[in-house]
Amino acid sequence: MVEATSKANGGDAVATDVAAAGKARAKRGIRFRYARYVARRLLQAVPIIVVIVLINFTLIQAAPGDPVYALIGQMETTPEYIAQVREEFGLDEPLPQQFLSYIAKIATFDLGYSFRFRQDVSGLIFERVPATFLLMGTALVISSLLGIGLGVIAGRRPFGWTDNAATIFALAGFSMPVFWLGQLVLLVFALKLPWFPVQGMVSLRAPSHGWGYIASVLHHLVLPATVYGIYHLTLIFRMTRIKMMDVLVQDFITTARSKGAGERRVLFVHALPNAILPVITVIGYNFGFMLAGSVLVETVFGWPGLGRLMYEAINARDYPLLLGLFVVISLFVIIANVLTDIIYALIDPRILYR
């Protein structure tokens, strides 16, 4: 919210004082409503979490395929050994018991033990989170900024040539299977034109520290973040464009113009904040899709994040890890949604009064 510091240095001093008092009162009221709103949103998330845990467990239990083989690897073994592993990991307990202990464990963030990696699931997941968030954050920020920018330009003159060009560009990246796009990008920008590294998060052959390390990470980040971001960019772009089209024909825009506001002011001060509201919701709702999509991008680019973990967990049928990943990712998505709702309320206070 734009709030002016109210130091009276001109104008009607009395009026300013009164205004300041009014402002303070209004602020208090809105703070209270705000806290109440955030609390309500957090409360609403609880049943969602419970349902997600339940869905996870049901789904994975219903699956065919014995997780014991994930543990044994690629070599021949004896039945005794299989039985030993089965017992060791409680796979022979009855289902309800497995589920109850699972719920109890989740409450303490004990997500179980990964067969495949022989490690605690929560530790395994959280040590991969930073890499994914770095990749996703970069992709998200860049694609959101670009998407909104392009959307504003295109939505201002719908069906003009800039609009058509931007639409086609955005759609083109969006319409390719991400893994194929990734491979093509690698072929062109890593092999034919050796500008960027093929895989990994940092150059291992020549270890670096400090700024050199950061530079190396950034260098490795370019291609995967671009490919990762394209889908999101298109989504944001289209949403912004449509909303800009909607908002720009709305009445208050006419009011703004009739006040004598210039085109840029109309676009960015009046239209964009209104157009961006649903866009923010879209970012929130697509957070989950994006996190899950990391499995493709991270596998193609060998990025050591959650997606890779997911890939190996799926291949190995690592049940505890899959369950844990699903819980954690869903949690992230819920948090992301609550955050977007909070940001939404920052921009649009109307929601606080419902």
Binding site: A4, G10, R25, A256, S258, G260, A261
Partner: protein
Amino acid sequence: MTDVLRIDDLTMHLETELGTVRAVENLSLRVDEGEAVALVGESGCGKSMTALSIMRLLPPYARFRSGSIRVAGKDLVTAPERAMRQIRGGTIGMIFQDPLTFLNPLRQVGEQIAEAVRLHTGAGRVEADAQALEALRRVRIADAENVVHNYPHQLSGGMRQRVLIAIAVACRPSLLICDEPTTALDVTIQAQIMELIDNLRHELGTAVLLITHDLGLVAQYCSRVYVMYAGQVVEDAGVREIFQHPRHPYTQALLQSSLRPDRVSEDFAVIDGQPPQLLAPPPGCRFHPRCPRVFDPCPSAMPGLDRAGEGRAMVRCHLEEAHQ
């Protein structure tokens, strides 16, 4: 008396995909300093398009074909955009029909008023805030100190309209265009708002161009009336003359319908037939398909807007020509 607005022979077309919409044709209009003038007509007759033409807030596919709009010595048809920005909100303020949709829902009303002040006076933030508060008081909002920090959705319809008026008059314009300012409001509030506008006219010396279909308001608050039909002015007269001796058959029909309170509606349903399509207006007199007094020349020849006698109304009707 000097005029604050003078429109001469204005023709404005909308070039849509379906063809040319003749939104405003050969329209001439004048508003003098401090005067309240009404522009009356059915919805779709081009009266709002006329207002938007003055503000030059037309859709991008609108084209001026001829004529001029003179305000403070400038022709707004050809003025550069930068100059228009000074006119909008500075020289001319405008208020609109639906007070909710015309306010930015995401900004406090104080900010929205202050914005107008800052755009035109170069005042600092604090100064502008103070002026915004002042403007709110000017439009008789009680508890203005709190209302400046309210969002539009927290206000009642009448309050919102007052805020819009405050925005429009924040810079003391010489002309206030009111486009159906009371249509969306309760009858009791309507009267208050009209009183407010009338008071501001006296206080600030601002001329008012009232665009409405409500002849009752016209009778009460305006001195002169332009009746518009299908993009054209069909009658231009003093308020008393219009009500006592309406000359154009369309004006007569309008008056009749407005005398029947049960049938008051924007569509003037009492007049038989449909308002004409401005995409393909009927040949000859635009009103002839609905005119109860249609005769020979009507379907083929367009009547001119002629004075019906010295000091009397200007009327666009073959009957008038026949009289002479």
